[in-house]
Symmetry: C4
Subunit: 287 residues, 4 copies
């Protein structure tokens, strides 16, 4: 396999020591339904996932408002269709909406045709909401080389699924420049908080204090390396009261540093690709 | 699948910032026997579960007495038959007894006929003890839409198995109003304390200090959202000395807030359904 | 299944608020070889287990000497045969040696004939070392009713495998009185420290500070209930430097209470069975 | 199976209370590709592993420079071929390079012929870089007796895969003396930090503070036993910002003791085998 060729990247730090992107994956029921339609009948499992769009998203939106912070919401097509208010509310508050597959099936398990269909259905669904996404994140971050090529073909400007750096970079996808904004498992709430026996989506419930420490320690050390702190949150997990308060603690820690700014993913992508900010990419970065 | 229709709910907070329900699932040997009758011959496994009714329940009852707190005990039919003293002692101390399936098999794995039989056998068994339950919790919280419909059909007033909110709500089940009192994995002792290799019921043994912190942080944050803190305890786990002391610490933390009250599940259900407290639903709320 | 009938027990606390038994399961290679002879060729796995008798046991013996504490060593026959010095050294230092199966296969997976053979081979092996054991612990604590009956038949005076109490009790086994000295997973080092990928014997490596806290909190709370703190240690785990120091911290904590004493298992069994201490059961209890 | 015969070992402590070897296993993509070539197409999995040679190794090299510490890098042949710069940079900075299998397949799963081939291919590959390794570590530490014999046959002077001590020792391998420098799971970053769902290489993400405590407590206690603290680091894990800082904290703790020195593995092996240091084995030990 040829690795995607890297190309020179623009200045995205803009004087900050590190940048935080608050990315919110609004998976809702999609990861469960991707494992089988039979889970439609598991009322508890469905309700566990529905907590995200029903309770978690509004609370996260309120928290962002309170701190006047920008965020990027990755929304699977299935979620957009089941919970149209989520799309509307997130857009109204001025946040970015980006793609996260249609059914939340992992690209590594899909044929090339199925991968294309996932993107086409997502785009079509988003257009109905008046949303023209510029970014993509693979479900479970598990993409193939073909997924990446499709992103270029469909004109997307960034991906957020690869983990070979903690700083964004630019590369060629299907001959077009695309930015990579690397996430990581350790900056994700799923590995710390997800517990559900059937289907088994995780078996661990850590205290928020551990998670705040984990994330704050990473951000603190990232300030020495000029890294991108791509935090990944799931409303059905982080929307719970004490976890939301943990997120707030992390935000306050980041703000207290004085040299960390918050940005939407599309703003970082534009800077990496050397262009100006796309119009309407939302709130100005914090300083 | 149509989701159950929500209907307006009554005032259940009654001036408190959050309400704690101490719910005790007296599973005893039932979850093990539900996996196979062969475990009857596993003396250690059986003894591990028997610790609950034999040692854990009396200690929890004493702790509740000491703090004069109300609680709700969810008792599988199998436990009621194997440990009749549990039913009698819990009732004598003035606590609520509610349904938790007969065999502790998970409804999602049962036919509609088997689900009905589980409820009928439970009711019949409870009536022999003079107990007329008004509430239900699905074993492992894994219910189907059909389970919910059965609850309405049998005249139950509340369920405590769904997780799409952390505040109680009212909905229609088989055309009758029913209250949902949402539990959650993070407010359960099982995920933190359960270890048993055969059958594998869990593989984690956390320190009580972590669990107290987990639950206290959740309750503290719930005070901002007016939530129901539905704590779920298993006597074969929380009955162990240091965990019991951890529970006591949590209780003292809750009482120290000044604006958190404790209630039985049926009292909350009555308030949600807009009615008066059923007669004899137990102690007055703490302030 | 009929449960073993309980009979009145003698005074084993003797004025203490709780009693600690330091029990050491010298499993060495036996649990690995019980999974398959092929592991004889896994040099790393074999060496991982050999650390116990080679390094861990001498260090634990030295620690016990330093604090002049009695202990009970449960030794599988396979270990006694592979590591005869362990049997000799433990006996020389005045500690108790008790049975732990011959091959470390779990009784729940053995036929009645195989169970009998395990005990007969163990006794024969122990007699060659001049050891006449009075106690038994089932490998992985997983015994059946038949195992218990065999203990009475072979004249053993106590078992340490059942978990339906945290205080010792007396019962009838094959018509003879036998004492039960209950262990528990939370007072075992295995669940906190064991990591080995092939065969998978565990996947967790906790810091000793967590384990000291877990055990100390349990002992502290046991002082209110007059419990038996049956600590279970594996030399291939607890023999590592920092874990040994953790054990020492726990010992110092116990001694600092002033009302906790240490005893060998056979001394407790004698008291429970109402008799005098067997001659030569070792050091006097600490105060 | 006959165990390798032990022979008298030279003085490797040289007045220190304990010695730390910083060993770095540059696995990169090899453990993943050893599970199947299909992972070449899993872009995220490949990128997750590529973080090691791409970002982690340079950062670790810089940290070692800053503290002027020697280290030993165990490099699978696959990594050397895919990432030649790693070999060159590590050698330039004066660190030791040792063998870690060619494909990272575990020797316990290979035939004798395959095991031989692994070593021959590794040596051939290393020679192309001008590296003549004197040490070996089995992938996943899972070696057989045959692996050990091959080490003697190929003239290697030490192995670092066995766990039956925490002090180095000498033994005969194919009639030649060879040193064993024992590692252990608890001094490895993998068990604390590795999370990757497909292939499943681990499911745990601990905070660096826990890991620093785990390792520092072990080193502290090792000072009483004159042990070798064989720390094992993986650049794709420890190369992340907060974990690198955790490693630095551990280093500072070790240096603060005053009687702990750092050494390369080959220096320890030479001392154990009673010889002088091999010429050019790198930086002098710290005091």
């Amino acid at each position: 396999m040829d690795w995607p060729e890297r190309i020179p990247a623009g200045d995205w730090l803009r004087g900050a020591s590190a940048v935080v992107v608050l990315s919110v994956d609004v998976d809702a029921e999609s990861p469960v339904l991707a494992r089988g339609e039979r889970y439609l009948n598991h009322l508890t499992t469905m309700s566990h996932q529905a907590y995200g769009p029903r309770v978690g998203v509004p609370r996260i939106l309120d928290l962002l408002d309170r701190y006047r912070l920008p965020a990027t919401f990755f929304v699977p097509g299935v979620t957009a269709e089941r919970w149209p208010h989520v799309m509307e509310n997130v857009a109204e508050r001025g946040h970015e909406i980006a793609m996260h597959g249609f059914t939340h099936r992992h690209p590594v398990h899909l044929s090339e045709g199925e991968q294309r269909e996932e993107i086409e259905r997502s785009l079509k669904c988003f257009f109905r909401f008046g949303v023209a996404p510029t970014g993509y994140r693979a479900p479970n971050w598990e993409m193939t080389r073909h997924t990446l090529d499709l992103l270029g073909e469909f004109g997307l400007r960034y991906d957020s699924s690869l983990m070979d750096d903690d700083r964004p970079y630019a590369m060629l996808s299907a001959g077009r420049p695309i930015a990579e904004l690397p996430p990581h498992w350790l900056l994700d709430d799923w590995e710390q908080y997800a517990f559900l026996p059937e289907p088994d989506v995780g078996q661990q419930i850590e205290a928020p204090s551990k998670v705040v420490e984990l994330w704050s320690a990473e951000l603190e050390a990232m300030r020495s390396f000029g890294s991108l702190c791509m935090l990944t949150l799931h409303p059905f997990l982080t929307g719970r009261p004490s976890r939301l308060r943990g997120l707030e603690e992390f935000i306050r820690f980041a703000l207290s540093r004085g040299d960390v700014r918050f940005a939407r993913a599309d703003e970082i992508a534009s800077a990496v690709l050397g262009g100006e900010d796309a119009p309407g990419t939302g709130p100005a970065p914090q300083s």
